[in-house]
Symmetry: C2
Subunit: 333 residues, 2 copies
DNA sequence: CTGAAAGCGCTTACAG
DNA sequence: CTGAAAGCGCTTACAG
């Protein structure tokens, strides 16, 4: 496929490359109607499409951004990606999707490759393993927005849920339903990932505020593979919790598998709330009470912040954007 | 962030740009150890990363591919994207994800933009609205792989499920469970989208082979919003179906909502199988019998085919790659 | 074993 | 109103 270049168009239209370029960039200021017509005709005849790469090299921008998610299997990530893609498409940007699998090394590779490819900015669900690398980006004024996770050491605009409130809503609702022994299970706290840490913190605060006892045995952050064991442990306590809050959708899935196998009755034997609204919440038996994140809006906002940064050189202050969780009461509580 | 260029490295190492370039491309054939050392030191000192865009312009390849999905909401699409991303990452390619929303115009825009951005190839779940545009790509020998859908007018490598077999497995299983009045519901047949058409065809063949009556009232292809009406219609027939096959995951969701609201007992009042294994299949009550697509393998294969094409100029014959469906028997039948 | 030169396909100040 | 020239940051034959 012999690519048509601006040179070919220039020749056919009988003008110079410069003039074609002016036309393409809509700098018609001093262009005669006559010339415009001829150029247009030549472009159509040849089926010319400008080479974006060449333009990018010259202009030092690619109109491409990247989103690096920590774990594409979370429904939250998928929704955010979708929203980012939508917003970018509306604004003439393309998005490269990368999945770091919560592995700092994979993440570092992506970041380096993406910089080499000259993406104009990145939206990242950061692991905490590449602080130095991010620091370089920040210092170099590279457009960056974090989602879901705060890295204390860095000042980067971050979009995330009001996690404490999310948990508070859930705990208060349990309380209203008469529960006092309430547990919480999240995925591993090992890397101090923001939503997990904040949800645990929020849990403690909420329990305290609502006058409920905070017991260590009711608070667990473990890998997905250990959730079964954790439930075995919690439910065989002398005083087992009567309600459990699942820290995210994947944890919720594991809990549901568990109660299903053991034929544990929800909500009579155990009440359940999950953070993250899941697509099957309404068809599960019983319908699941959840705390939804406005994932779509959050993704959109992240994209919006990033594109603003890209267009404005330096945007000034750094902000943490907290989004409101929404309790959706159904039948599992 | 002042970008370091090959020129800066050359200056520091005291050699020419050419030599740096040779080094970067590992053409060490005649390079002295001494020079290598100096170059390496200079690169490290400056933290130099080559500009991929400049290289792309010269080499006329970007090591970037795109995947355009018809509808990112299908779990199948998400899995395919994931697999493509994995495979590409292993092979030094980046992937741009686009969501055409089954809208030919949006699709056409993407294709044009992506070509302008010089992506090396595309994996597409094609709508049937851009045959001419695809023809140009094919004629120009542009690397292209279709997934999920065959466009008869075009000869393009295509990766998809053995849809007839998938349906056959489901129908035979219904039959073994004693069902004779079996219905099938898919999304709209208006655009003659391959999996829908083939699943309906497969249904007719299977019913015939198994000696069951094929009745038009039991066969529906409608938009998701009409599935409720369709079920109302089917189930109020004098002889309503006792089993229904859902054409994909989204249809299955709608059916599940319906039976849930009406408190229809699965499988006693109505048996159910869905094409596409869904994450909640095992936690639904009852556990759902499904026909799974090997989505991950399919995505991987598509990526593999595409990268081979990209590396080999013209790959010769065009093939349709059919993947084996797998019936997973659970409790909804 | 290494360097000078041309070129990839654009854009952009500047001259006329 | 339009064109010649330089340049974005690389790679690649070719010369020496």
């Amino acid at each position: 496929m012999k690519r048509i270049t601006i040179q070919d168009v220039a020749r056919l239209a009988g003008v110079s490359k410069s003039t074609i370029s002016q036309y393409l960039n809509k700098r018609y200021d001093y262009m005669s109607e006559e010339t415009k017509k001829r150029i247009e005709a030549a472009i159509n005849e040849l089926g010319y499409e400008p080479n974006f790469i060449a333009r990018s090299l010259k202009q030092k921008k690619t109109s491409t951004i990247a989103v690096i998610v920590a774990n594409i299997l979370h429904s939250f990530s998928t929704k955010v990606i979708r929203a980012v893609e939508d917003y970018c498409n509306e604004n003439g940007f393309h998005v490269i999707v990368c999945n770091a699998d919560d592995d700092p090394e994979k993440e570092a590779n992506y970041i380096r490759m993406l910089r080499a490819k000259q993406v104009d900015g990145m939206i990242v669900f950061p692991t905490s393993g590449n602080i130095q690398l991010y620091k370089e980006l920040v210092d170099g004024n590279f457009p960056l927005v974090f989602v879901d996770r705060i890295i204390q050491e860095l000042s980067v605009d971050t979009v995330l849920l009001d996690n404490e409130k999310a948990v508070y809503l859930a705990i208060r609702h349990f309380r209203e339903r008469g529960h006092e022994r309430i547990g919480i299970i999240t995925t591993s706290l090992h890397h101090r990932v923001t939503p997990r840490v904040e949800r645990i913190e929020g849990y403690k605060k909420a329990m305290f505020e609502l006058g409920l006892a905070v017991r260590d045995e009711y608070i667990k952050g473990v890998d997905l593979t250990y959730i079964e064991d954790t439930l075995d442990f919690m439910l065989s306590l002398k005083e087992p919790p009567t309600a459990i809050l699942a820290g995210n959708d994947l944890v919720l899935m594991e809990i549901l598998k568990y109660v299903k196998e053991r034929k544990i009755n929800i909500p009579d034997d155990l009440a359940l709330i999950g953070v993250d609204d899941v697509p099957f919440a309404t068809i599960f038996t019983p319908k699941l009470t959840t705390v939804a994140q406005p994932a779509f809006e959050m993704g959109r906002r992240a994209a919006q912040l990033l594109l603003t940064k890209i267009n404005n050189e330096r945007s000034g202050l750094v902000n943490i954007y907290r989004f409101e969780p929404m309790l959706i009461v159904r039948d599992s509580t």
